[in-house]
Structures are given as structure tokens and as C-alpha cells.
């Protein structure tokens, strides 16, 4: 290498949702920006996420992760000021603000090349994401024991099934989502094992795997793994109220894969190297950089965004990316009124974290804020805005045209122990999701089995009749008024939680019609007979497929119309195409 390090205006490390969003802001502001990622494709965790995302429209809710990654990539690629180096791992961050990058060129037919390069800039956005945590138990080093993200990479990026039969450890969102994706890839999921007495992930994700027949064993953990050369089975056992294993409750589960979804820790090495003040905050995943609302660390000009600043979600990572990018651009003198431009994003972030599911993050950030008090004076990049002056996160939508507007769910609703420990709603919860009896007889209506307050609103955006009202707060449960519902099932296709169904009790004297979301192969066709499954995946009868509504894009959720014996329409929530190819046509 000759000469000094290459100079840029800004360097972004990590091309996940956080880094790409930061690069978009910097590039738009005209900063010559270098984006570095060690992967061969930009997008971070998003490139392996086939499910639809939650959040609001601004964070592309209802869009699948892989698609969000493509959109972010295109946005950044269109900015001439941004340069991206892939296959480029940042190895070190030195005190003179020079970073070393290990670059690899490995194109087919060419000789492989590896070299080091040095780059520098006055401002940095470090957005390296997080790494999966390991779990201690005997034989946890056997081949076949993978991080859930690794299994996801193998199947969703490289098209290779991780195995035949999987035990998943962890019923947080990652464990639930990866279990569902394993099923979609044609892998059996024997059980999801969760040490806590309640399911930590979104209950709509839990319901999806439950109705596919996957048991969720809360208050259980792995005792040991078995196998000689590779994993052959797992013994799990129950934990008592004090989290102590109960001898005699051991269960052996045959499996060739054990997936660990037991949490993520920020990939913070570069932050330590850069000399950023760090704090240990378990709620945020471990060691995180002390930072203020503007996402600047204790080292002036070094900003953070996304999971590395505290493990959260892609929606929050994108918003933080915008804020860090704007902050860094302001540091360069490229953004004039930072407080004003950042206000919308800050309000958005606050609204994402406002509900019960954001409670842990809020607690973690409060702890961190204790540490930032002394720092605020030294970070002039942005002054805090008061929430009152911030514009509302989403413009209030026009109220539905009818007289009885849907009422939003009341905040602070308590969920049944059955729902939170098994993923199956209790009878009282199901009752509350049904319209009055006279309305049910009048024609098709939607049943929305979304009982938990989560930051999500695509059902409202999908509904054109106003039956699902606007969300005054994105964390509330949907407000549904059956009087306005025409049974169009647009909500069924749009809901990322697959929690919406449509029922028509008048289909025939003895049969009802059920419209349900179905994201598996093979898809049945009209005329096929399919198995009818209940909310636990148990077989409860058979039905006839009347129609399959699907769009040309594989990214949309197909909606299957199936006949159901009248008395079972409240029970059936899934179908299975019998093993005989494609189901028997009648």
C-alpha cells in the first residue's frame, strides 16, 4: 500500500437496515460516503427474513424482510455520493480514526485476492448489528447445533435445509419466526422449548406455528444433547417457578438439528477499539455504547445505529439509521436545522417503543440515559427535541364514513395465561373477537385474532371499507367494526401476523366458508379436498377448496377459501394438503 489512508467524508460500517438507512441520509446530504460490509450482499439480517414485517408504513410494515433489503439497497445504489465495498471486513478502529479493512475479491474464474486497506473520515456510523448467544449444556458443541440465524441463512439464503427435524430453543420472535420458516422450507419442527413461563415473542407468531402443530413447551429447557458424530436427539426437562429443573420430567426428542434462539449480543468490538464509553445493560443485549438521542457516542463524530446500540428490531434500526445519518451529516455541516429534520424520526422511534412490547427497551434506554447525563454537553450535533413539538408519527386517517366508528382496543388489556403460555387464545378471547350473533348470520365477516398490543397496523391500511379503523397509537390492538365489513379478505392477505380470517356462515345449509392465509407448498387448487386443522394443528375434519386467491408475486400471501362444517367454523384455522399429490380432486 502506498500513501496514507483513503479519505471520505463519512464511513458507515455495516450494510444492514441501520447502516443502509444512515448511508441514504448521508448520501442525500451530499457527503462522500463509504459503506463497508463483510458480507457479499448488503441487507444484514434482512436478506434471510422471508416474513412480513411489523411496524408502520414508514418502516415498510407488511413487506417481507428480503424485499425491504432490496428497496434499501436500490435507494442507496441510486445515490452517486455513496460507494459500497462488500466482502470487506473492518478489522480495527485506531485512535487516529483510521480503520483497516480486509478486502476479498473472489469472483469465479479469477484468482482469489485478499488485501488490507486503510480508510478514514471525520465521521463514522457504526452499525455492525448483533451476534447470536450460545447456551451452556452438555454436548452443546455437536454438529447439528446451530444458531437460529445460521439455520435461517442456510435455508433462506442458500436454499439448503439445515436438517429433517428441529428442536428450537427460545420462544422469542426469532425462535418463533425461524420455526415458521423451517416449516415453510419443508423441515419438521418437533418442539419449541422456552425456559420462561410465558412466550416472549409476538403471540400472533406463536399462533402461526401452533396451528401448524408445533408444541411450545414453556418452562422447559435443554438438559442435554445426544449424538456421536452429530446430533441425534435432545433431552428437555421442566423448570419450576424458581427456574430449577424438575428431575423426572425429562423428555427425549429425536432431532438432527437443535437451533438456539436464546438472544443476541451487540457486536461491539469496534466501539471498544474506538474508545467509546460502554455500559452493560442486559435489557439492550449486553455491552452497549453510551449514547444520547442523537446516537452519537462519547467519541465525537462516532455515531451508532441498530442492534449494536441495543438489540431491538429492524424497524427501530432503520429509524436509528436515519437519525445517525442525519446527525453525522450535521456534524459535517451538511444539514442545517437538524432538530427540525430529526423530529419526525424521533417521534417515530418513540411511537415504536411506546407499547408493552417496547417496555424492556424503554427500561434499558432509561438506564443508559443515566450514563449520558454527563455527555450531553459535549455532543452539539443535535439538541434534544421535546416530544410535544414533534409531529405525530402518522397523519391521522379520515374516520370511516359510517355512524358507528370502530373503537380501538383499550390499552393495558390483560391476556389469558393460556394464550401467553401456549399461544392458543382462551375461549373468552375468542368470544371477544366475534361480532354479535345477528351480524354473524347476515353475511361474511372478519375475525381478527390479534389480542396483544404490538407495534403494527397493516390491517387498517388494507381495509378499504373502514371496518378496521385507524390506530391512534400503533401499539393498540385493531379496532374492528363488523357493521362495515364486506368479507373482502384484503386484511387476511395483508396481516403480517396472519391473524385475520373471514367467515361466511351462510355458505350452504350445512357448511360455512372460511378464508384463511396459507403460505406453504403445495398450494391446493379449487376442487381439492384438504384436511382441516384447529388452532393446535389437530385434524378436525375435511373441507373442499373453493378458490385460491393469489397474486403473481410469490411475496404476497395466498388466501384459501375452504368449506368447513358449520359447527366447526370457530375451530378450524389451518389446512393441510394431504400427502397424496395436491389433494384428491372431486
Amino acid at each position: 500500500m502506498s500513501g496514507g489512508p483513503k479519505k471520505y467524508d463519512a464511513i458507515v460500517v455495516g450494510a444492514g437496515p441501520a447502516g443502509l438507512s444512515a448511508a441514504a441520509e448521508l448520501g442525500r446530504a451530499g457527503a462522500r460516503t463509504l459503506v463497508l460490509d463483510r458480507d457479499t450482499r448488503p441487507g444484514g439480517q434482512l436478506v434471510k427474513q422471508t416474513h412480513k414485517f411489523f411496524g408502520s408504513e414508514k418502516q415498510r410494515a407488511g413487506t417481507r424482510g428480503v424485499e425491504i433489503a432490496r428497496l434499501l439497497r436500490e435507494e442507496v445504489a441510486a445515490l452517486p455520493a455513496v460507494e459500497m465495498w462488500l466482502n470487506s471486513t473492518v478489522l480495527g478502529f485506531y485512535s487516529d480514526r483510521v480503520i483497516t479493512v480486509e478486502r476479498v475479491k473472489d469472483a469465479p474464474g479469477e484468482e482469489r485476492r485478499e488485501w488490507l486497506e486503510k480508510v478514514t473520515a471525520p465521521v463514522f456510523v457504526l452499525a455492525t448489528g448483533a451476534a447470536e448467544r450460545f447456551l451452556p449444556f452438555p454436548n452443546n458443541d455437536l454438529p447439528g447445533i446451530y444458531g437460529a440465524g445460521a439455520a435461517q441463512t442456510l435455508m433462506n439464503v442458500h436454499g439448503v435445509r439445515p436438517g429433517r427435524r428441529v428442536v428450537m430453543v427460545g420462544a422469542g420472535n426469532i425462535g418463533l419466526i425461524v420455526s415458521y420458516q423451517l416449516l415453510q422450507a419443508g423441515v419438521e419442527v418437533a418442539a419449541i422449548v422456552e425456559a420462561a413461563p410465558v412466550i416472549g415473542g409476538y403471540l400472533v407468531h406463536a399462533a402461526k406455528v401452533r396451528r401448524a402443530g408445533v408444541p411450545i413447551l414453556t418452562s422447559h429447557t435443554v438438559k442435554e444433547a445426544h449424538g456421536r458424530e452429530a446430533l441425534e436427539g435432545v433431552t428437555v426437562w421442566r423448570l419450576d417457578e424458581k427456574w430449577q429443573p424438575v428431575p423426572g420430567t425429562e423428555k427425549y426428542i429425536a432431532a438432527d438439528v437443535l437451533c438456539l434462539a436464546t438472544g443476541l449480543s451487540p457486536l461491539a468490538e469496534l466501539l471498544f477499539q474506538a474508545g467509546c464509553q460502554m455500559a452493560y445493560v442486559p435489557e439492550l443485549g449486553g455491552h452497549v455504547p453510551v449514547h444520547g438521542e442523537d446516537l452519537e457516542t462519547s467519541v465525537p463524530g462516532v455515531f451508532v445505529a441498530g442492534d449494536v446500540s441495543g438489540v431491538e428490531e429492524a424497524s427501530a434500526a432503520m429509524v436509528e439509521g436515519h437519525l445517525a445519518g442525519l446527525g453525522a451529516a450535521a456534524r459535517l455541516g451538511l444539514v442545517r436545522d437538524l432538530a427540525a429534520v430529526a423530529a419526525g424520526w424521533r417521534a417515530e422511534l418513540a411511537s415504536l417503543r411506546a407499547g408493552p412490547s417496547g417496555e424492556k427497551i424503554r427500561r434499558g434506554l432509561a438506564k443508559l440515559a443515566g450514563q449520558t447525563a454527563g455527555m450531553a454537553a459535549s455532543s452539539p450535533a443535535g439538541s434534544p427535541v421535546s416530544p410535544a413539538s414533534a409531529p405525530a408519527a402518522s397523519a391521522p386517517a379520515a374516520p370511516p364514513p359510517a355512524t358507528s366508528a370502530p373503537k380501538p382496543g383499550k390499552p393495558g388489556r390483560t391476556l389469558s395465561p393460556q394464550l401467553t403460555s401456549t399461544g392458543e387464545p382462551a375461549a373468552s378471547e375468542l368470544e371477544s373477537s366475534l361480532p354479535p350473533a345477528d351480524r354473524r348470520r347476515q353475511g361474511p365477516y372478519a375475525v381478527i385474532e390479534c389480542f396483544q398490543e404490538i407495534p403494527c397496523d397493516p390491517c387498517h391500511k388494507a381495509c378499504r371499507t373502514g371496518a378496521i379503523g385507524p390506530f391512534p397509537d400503533i401499539n393498540l390492538t385493531p379496532a374492528y367494526e363488523a357493521a362495515h365489513c364486506n368479507g373482502c379478505a384484503l386484511c387476511v392477505a395483508q396481516c403480517p401476523g396472519l391473524a385475520c380470517f373471514v367467515v361466511d356462515e351462510n355458505y350452504s345449509p350445512s357448511e360455512a366458508l372460511l378464508k384463511l392465509p396459507y403460505e406453504f407448498l403445495p398450494l391446493p387448487a379449487a376442487g381439492h379436498t384438504v384436511d382441516l386443522l384447529d388452532r393446535t394443528g389437530a385434524l378436525v375434519g375435511s373441507g373442499r377448496v373453493v378458490r385460491v386467491v393469489r397474486s403473481r408475486s410469490k411475496l404476497a400471501t395466498p388466501v384459501v377459501w375452504v368449506t368447513v362444517p358449520s359447527e366447526k367454523v370457530g375451530t378450524v384455522r389451518n389446512i393441510r394438503v394431504p400427502a397424496t399429490k395436491g389433494g384428491a380432486a372431486e
Binding site: 451476534a131 455437536l142 446451530y146 442456510l154 442458500h158 415453510q184 410469490k554
Partner: protein
């Protein structure tokens, strides 16, 4: 182990290539990680642990954890979960862990 049909994704693969794992000739797709090609061929044991010689596979699949170090074309300590496969590659188990520490 390859997914032929997926409800949401389409996989675009490179051309088919042959490579060697120990003394077996296997097939994979050019450009995919070596570990993915091995896994698709049913190979899950990638190395042996340094001290107790226990079998090891990959864990993180994104180049973080070094659980998948192998010798590739004579180069030791290659993280096969992120290293691209090429025609004719020779991939070998590393006995005794990291080649430089063995």
C-alpha cells in the same frame, strides 16, 4: 437437503461444480459457501476440536464464531461458512483445531 420449491423464495444458483472433501468427490454450486455445499451433500462434521478431538460443525454461518475452520486448497483456517466454492476445490478437515495452533 436442497430446497427445490419454496413458497416465497426463488433461489438463483451458480453453475454446478465438482469439488473434493477429503477423498470424496462432491457437487455444489459455484459461489455458494463451502459449508452450504457440504451440508447439502450431508457432511455436517467439519473439524475436530483441538484438545478432546470432538466433532465440530458450523454455528453462526456468518463468519463470527470460527467453529467451521477447514483447510481449503492447502490454506488452513478458512471459515467455510463464508468462503465461496469454486470448481475443483480441495476441502479438508483440520485435525487439532486451528492449523497454526495445532
Amino acid at each position: 437437503m436442497r430446497i427445490q420449491d419454496h413458497p416465497i423464495l426463488d433461489f438463483s444458483k451458480g453453475r454446478k461444480v465438482r469439488f473434493w472433501f477429503e477423498d470424496r468427490e462432491l457437487e455444489g454450486y459455484e459461489g455458494e459457501p463451502i459449508a452450504a455445499a457440504l451440508h447439502a451433500a450431508g457432511v455436517r462434521v467439519l473439524s475436530e476440536s483441538p484438545v478432546r478431538h470432538r466433532p465440530r460443525g458450523f454455528f453462526c454461518a456468518i463468519g463470527n464464531c470460527s467453529s467451521c475452520l477447514m483447510t481449503v486448497d492447502g490454506r488452513p483456517n478458512v471459515r467455510v461458512c463464508v468462503e465461496a466454492l469454486h470448481e475443483g476445490m480441495r476441502v479438508q478437515k483440520q485435525r487439532g483445531g486451528r492449523g497454526d495452533l495445532a
